[in-house]
Symmetry: C2
Subunit: 393 residues, 2 copies
């Protein structure tokens, strides 16, 4: 959502224009005919959608000189002019803030990290504000305006209202972050769940391009999941979606912070792995890296902990695939560092739990550093900037 | 899919026309302005979509005399002329075939049941053909043509190819049912999974009207689930979706026919309940009705079996809601006969497993007799008849 009035060059978007823009963002440059084929719009509708975006300079049309055919007339292509606008994307982790300055094609121009001094809004908001100011100064050098700020936060985030309803990780409740950050930065602000933001970037530019149904599963400090169904990110009627971390796999399993037993997150997230490694070894293992070292040194008890975690992740992916039947599941997150220890468990448990032809789903791994999550936040800001008022239901 | 060439009056549908038609089917009569508001189409686009459908007589426009205002000009309304075309819908169970003759508004005009003499395609196909011939004769009395046949079958059904890939219940594998029934009946045939077909009917005419995200969970001989996400039924990239029956809830639970332990279906479907009731009582209970009688007579062991089944269903619904965040979950199926025994278990397990605001999802029960499933099959035939070639991705 935009918490401040939209700026003068925000285009008045129709659903068709919004669709044409995102199609060109993912697949451009394209001929007008190809835009029509991919969007299902008539030539007249494509022309109508493209015209205002060209007048504002967000789209350009021309001949691709490199693709000029040996004989015949070269095709005119349309593409997004990335340099025409800038956006800032921010991902907040428990320890630091990662910010990127991205162009309209969501290419990262500059990235910055700053450590966090505290997790409360009073510590995080000034850090965000300072980082945005720094990037706004950098943006002056590009000679184009920054059109929006996207902030990605783990937890239950109401994007429409711009409110972080509950972030267990940051211990925030009902923080009106879009309004607060809009006031301190002067930018239109979009706040979204971090995994959903990363899913937008994967859909537009990553391993989800061209797919109408896929899932992004993130493993690490928590177990997250973003879903794209029928070509759009699933947000949940009440703001909750993709919570595979709380699939309950075993009534006798470890207690989860949600109150149930045997949740995927209580078996396979970093804190759960650390607890289990301490119990298995009796050693005061302090972080994920140390636990990983013990496993790589061959400690059988520690390896068994990772194997069990892999099995839980594989079962969760199997459930996900049985329920909505995606074309692909992308596994990512900082937990991929332990993937060699997870892999067999994930593969076997997925194969055992996927029902019938659901097992044909393509399950891949893809490392995505925190800059990519911040880029996802920038993508949500571009999405808000280019969204039509009637496109979202 | 249509297995035979489309008939002369099948309209050439654009995506907009298809959308306008289904909007009027669910919400009509509507003014053109209201159609535009609900579909997000411009007045010109509504006019363009409506015109050919009116020329073919599928839509009519006029003044609603009953709603004529005391003063001022009455609004012109557009609606679907139900009497303009007929469709046949068939649901195949393990014991019988249920068929309905429905009009273009999917109102049931005539319904028929016939017992099945066998479950193999060689027994089912002639029974379907005879029933269709009977209804075609009845249809002559209405003076309008039957435009399509929809057949709903439990299991893994590839609607696009018209093939029943695997129906565990009927023990069918790779039966090209649309082609076979198209040849014997001469009608365009749509074959779909039975729960998905019922979900289409619920979306257009039932408890899913106006919702963009809901689930239909059916309990009985199996545990089924149909999903609507972003306003469209989810079919799964590989044909499998909504398989909540194979969520594994307990690694020490009863063995499921899929090979895993503790699946919802291995705890809460009729055969599983029968097995558990026999084990609890030592009695040779022969069917669901007899088991139900024992529970209603107060047998604590039998009641515990139903309570456990209710808990499994409640957990499955919780998982579903955590993953895709629907506005509503509709519980139906012949298993509703035992709902008084399930209810507490479902409610408690759902409340415990729903994560955060996901618990706000509206969970309702709704009895839907097999005629409604057959009506769902007719709805898929209407959907095929009115589908645009570019609407589905």
């Amino acid at each position: 959502m935009r918490s401040t009035p939209s700026h003068e060059a925000a285009p008045a978007m129709t659903p068709a224009a919004s669709l044409v823009f995102t199609t060109l963002l993912s697949h451009g440059p394209l001929t007008r005919a190809e835009v029509g084929r991919r969007t299902g719009l008539s030539p007249a509708a494509v022309t109508k959608a493209v015209r205002p975006l060209m007048e504002l300079g967000y789209l350009v049309e021309g001949v691709d000189e490199e693709a000029r055919p040996a004989v015949g007339r070269p095709a005119n292509l349309v593409w997004v002019d990335g340099g025409r606008a800038l956006f800032i994307g921010i991902k907040v982790t428990g320890d630091e803030i990662i910010a990127v300055l991205a162009d309209l094609c969501c290419r990262i121009r500059i990235s910055r990290h700053v450590p966090l001094k505290g997790r409360e809004p009073e510590a995080v908001l000034p850090a965000i504000t300072a980082l945005v100011q720094e990037l706004l100064t950098e943006a002056d050098g590009f000679g184009v305006r920054v059109r929006g700020l996207g902030i990605a936060i783990s937890g239950d985030v109401d994007r429409a209202d711009g409110v972080v309803r509950y972030s267990p990780f940051l211990e925030w409740r009902d923080v009106p972050l879009a309004e607060l950050a809009g006031t301190t930065t002067g930018l239109p602000v979009t706040v979204d769940n971090d995994v959903r933001a990363l899913t937008v970037a994967e859909h537009w530019f990553g391993a989800g391009v061209g797919l109408s149904d896929f899932a992004l599963v993130t493993v690490g400090a928590g177990i997250g999941c973003g879903l794209v169904v029928h070509g759009r990110v699933v947000s949940g009627a009440h703001g909750v979606a993709g919570e595979i971390g709380h699939l309950s796999l075993d009534p006798l399993g470890p207690l989860c912070h949600c109150g149930n037993r045997g949740c995927v997150e209580a078996i396979a997230a970093d804190p759960a792995i650390l607890r289990a490694v301490r119990a298995a070894t009796g050693k005061q293992v302090s972080d994920a890296a140390e636990a990983l070292d013990l496993a790589h040194d061959g400690d059988p008890g520690v390896r068994a902990v990772y194997a069990r975690a892999g099995e839980a992740i594989g079962k969760a992916i199997g459930s996900l695939v049985n329920i909505f039947g995606p074309e692909r599941v992308i596994i990512s997150g900082e937990g991929l560092a332990a993937y060699d220890l997870f892999a067999e468990g994930i593969r076997d448990a997925f194969a055992a739990s996927a029902f019938g032809t659901a097992s044909q789903c393509d399950v891949i791994t893809r490392p995505l550093p925190f800059e990519e999550w911040a880029r996802g936040a920038a993508a949500t800001a571009i999405q808000s900037f280019m969204a039509s008022d009637t496109y979202e239901e």
